[in-house]
Symmetry: C2
Subunit: 344 residues, 2 copies
Amino acid sequence: MGQFRRDPLTGRWVIINTDEIKSPGDFKIDKVAKKGGPCPFCYGSENMTPPEIMAFRQNATAPNTPGWSVRVVPNKYPALRVEGDLAKEGVGMFDKMNGIGAHEVIIETPDHFREIPDLEYSDVESVVSAYKYRCLDLKKDTRLKYLLLFKNYGFSAGASLEHGHTQLIALPIVPKRVSEALKGAARYYSYKDRCVFCDMVSQELEEKERIVLENDIFLAYCPFVSRFPYETRIIPKRHLSDFASITKEEIAGFARILKDVMKKIKIVLEDPPYNVVIHTSPIDGHEWARQDYHWHCDIMPKLGKVAGFEWGSGFYINPTPPEIAAESLRGGNESKSKKAKRRA
Amino acid sequence: MGQFRRDPLTGRWVIINTDEIKSPGDFKIDKVAKKGGPCPFCYGSENMTPPEIMAFRQNATAPNTPGWSVRVVPNKYPALRVEGDLAKEGVGMFDKMNGIGAHEVIIETPDHFREIPDLEYSDVESVVSAYKYRCLDLKKDTRLKYLLLFKNYGFSAGASLEHGHTQLIALPIVPKRVSEALKGAARYYSYKDRCVFCDMVSQELEEKERIVLENDIFLAYCPFVSRFPYETRIIPKRHLSDFASITKEEIAGFARILKDVMKKIKIVLEDPPYNVVIHTSPIDGHEWARQDYHWHCDIMPKLGKVAGFEWGSGFYINPTPPEIAAESLRGGNESKSKKAKRRA
């Protein structure tokens, strides 16, 4: 029989299927296999993107030329633009306003074929630093209320280009799902006087069975109420509400656990497509001091299709209990050659 | 520049892309092409499903044999089961309970290769009548709080079998997205003393530009705040809160508009995968008399991938303004042969 589980943050119920449990081999995974070819994010194609906003560069190479290790550019086909004003107005019973905001792309490495699990820890630190710098810069625009960092890997997870990149969208409103989570967190805080995420971290550290990996600063685990199989959350163990306030030491800890968890996912699920999202406090001038919210990063491998039931209900059926997902991810250490040998 | 639009029901903002508008030919559509082959939903395979719950049959043929026109069976791999009790309990800060409920499959036709747009109106009426009868029957189980009818067409929309079928899931809780919509509708009603859906119907009938089709009883239109390109809503023009209370006359009107709209989608988007969901009032003993909620049916063609941004924010970017989508759907009348000729 399946099991309903409810998340105290969002009030969302998920059905965890405990009858027909799906293991990694049971999914028809659209394995990501990069093909290469002409790419606007490779060295020498810098003029195929809009001019760069920032880059980490060696030996004082010129902007928009090779020599960078991480490069940030505006999205060529942005959903939102910085110029103009919101021009809010009503349309009968509806509301509309102009699409003001920002839409940037963080190119994670010049190497077309390497992704976060393949990079050195120090390279991943540079990527995370670029995230931070862009957030700090965008926060200066007082029209913006929310910054969303996300990454789509593989065409079936929504990527439109192969080359490893993260997107940053800055919005003049706080999106619905974020404000729901904020309300849930505030409700919990007002009742318990504790951060709901801090309580989740404590429970996971105590029960242990859903932990994938941890270091001094961060915990990675498969949430008790996972919507998707092998969904994994990375969260600072200490209460920290604002991603953009991440310190140098925290950047190192986050880069390390992010690379290691993504490598486990790559090994265990054989290079699946995935989405990564960083959830942080909205911009309100004291987002770094918020007591009831806690930044975190969710990694969602794309193993099945989201169908009518999910769209209609906001309700998910997860065929892999997170306890089992965490157990297989914990074991995802063997090298590819070892695995190939064992199979042969 | 894009345009933000907000739905007064859910408070959701959607970005409508007005710069790079996508027309039907601009989507890489996973065209549904049925392959055929052994199928548990075809005549002669009745013993491959659990025993039927109901069927419309000709000439008093025996249950679980050929001769049916619509057949309802329990899902062979149900997410939920009828037997047992809920056994609610806490797990630290979380809640869990047993997966009690029902999960049924309505096989729409014995013909493996025909779908709703290809059926006769009277056949579609039988399908809708089967929906109604199953809802009325399941409502007798007082543990159940919500009935969700949905259909996935095409593997990339989540279908696991080719043969045309609808699913019915009965839940012991009201799912999150439904209760959000109910709250939004109640809020609107308490402020305006009018049903938010009735107001939407009035506005659409007045503005006309988003209408796809209408008849005496139903309106089909592309919502002002469409999350997905070519999303189409079918709604009774008169205030009706409960799908299961649908009358014979309304069944005929719904079957007609459902078939016609789905045919337009099939023609204009060249047989795309899609999800269909029927949203109705939760079961509370007077769902048929609810003043603030209005049943409706949403058809969502699956033309793009939902990516990290959407998962992270509950926020959608729609590349086809609904005004343009409705215009092309309205024009979706030409026969396939005409179209082929024109192209040649």
